[in-house]
């Protein structure tokens, strides 16, 4: 069950998280509670399952290189192929989508050579061709995501 404090912590600090010596104290001051209450609320398992982490979102492709990859895999082989792909450390997202191209994943590497080598390995290991769709332009200004938590 989410308390009002939980909801504020989830919604109000998605950006401009304090870059100061005692950031949780600063948040506590903003919300009129104690630092201990903020720390306890953020450590709460109820909130932990809703937070992936607290930290920076980095502009894509400024550190390392990455590409979105699509594959068309027969339904009966999808789980096996997906598991094989997920096991690589180079993969961070891997989704089934409703389409002929039904497997979509993001591969990241330190440089282009490593990335190309990796994609070749994926094609060889799975036996399926990949469609590589690297990012060309990012139009998104990330301000966080306004959550409607009335029923959470």
């Amino acid at each position: 069950m989410l308390t009002d404090l939980h909801k504020h912590l989830l919604n109000d600090f998605q950006r401009d998280f304090p870059l100061s010596v005692r950031p949780y104290q600063e948040i506590a001051d903003t919300l009129g509670v104690t630092e201990d209450e903020v720390l306890a609320a953020l450590t709460d398992t109820a909130v932990q399952q809703y937070i992936s982490r607290i930290g920076p979102v980095i502009r894509p492709n400024h550190i390392g290189v990455s590409t979105l990859v699509a594959m068309a895999v027969p339904e009966e082989h999808l789980q096996t192929v997906a598991d094989k792909i997920s096991a690589y450390p180079e993969i961070n997202h891997n989704y089934e989508r409703e389409h002929r191209l039904n497997l979509w994943f993001v591969a990241i590497a330190s440089d282009v050579e490593h990335l190309n080598h990796f994609i070749n390995e994926v094609e060889r290991e799975t036996g399926y061709k990949t469609l590589q769709l690297p990012l060309l332009n990012d139009f998104f200004i990330d301000l966080g995501f306004k959550l409607d938590l009335n029923h959470a």
Binding site: L9, D16, Y50, I54, G55, I58, I63, I85, N94, F139
Partner: protein
């Protein structure tokens, strides 16, 4: 561009800021930096835009946002920046990218839409199409089904990238 110290710092922080009174001091210990240097470097990286935002990164699905769709359009190259800029201002759009067209995949504009259910996402797409004038361009909507893996990109010698 970030220097090597910045990269070390971003690598140390990629799994998240610890929940304790002096979190930047803790991060500093992992990359041999003072608390003051950690804060100063993060402040500069945020000012120069390498850090798009700094804060709580929520998981949509457990919070009731169960429908997620990738929508793709084939739009003229000379309009894509304008259309992408417009589309990315809608609160339900959580990513907005240009990617190359391929012979078997003619789309170049991508938006990710998160909603509480499928009907909501379809209504949001309709709104997006109307408001941005995207309704006349070839498009497809790809709802996500299974999520096999999702994490804040950890990888060798580097750091967090949201969506290649």
């Amino acid at each position: 561009m970030p220097d090597n110290r910045d990269r070390q710092l971003l690598e140390a922080i990629q799994l998240g800021l610890p929940v304790c009174p002096r979190p930047y001091e803790e991060i500093g210990k992992q990359c041999d930096m003072s608390e003051a240097e950690v804060i100063a470097r993060l402040t500069v990286l945020k000012q120069n835009g390498l850090i798009k935002r700094m804060g709580v990164i929520v998981k949509h699905h457990p919070l009731g946002y169960r429908a997620n769709a990738m929508v793709v359009w084939n739009v003229p190259d000379d309009l894509i920046a304008q259309l992408g800029g417009h589309a990315s201002r809608f609160p339900f759009v959580t990513l907005c990218y240009q990617r190359p067209r391929k012979p078997e995949w003619p789309y170049n504009l991508y938006c990710m839409i998160h909603g509480k259910d499928r009907a909501v996402v379809l209504a949001q797409l309709e709104q997006l199409n109307q408001a941005c004038g995207l309704q006349n361009f070839d498009q497809e909507i790809l709802f996500s089904r299974r999520c096999f893996k999702q994490r804040g990109a950890v990888y060798q010698r580097s750091t967090d990238i949201t969506h290649g």
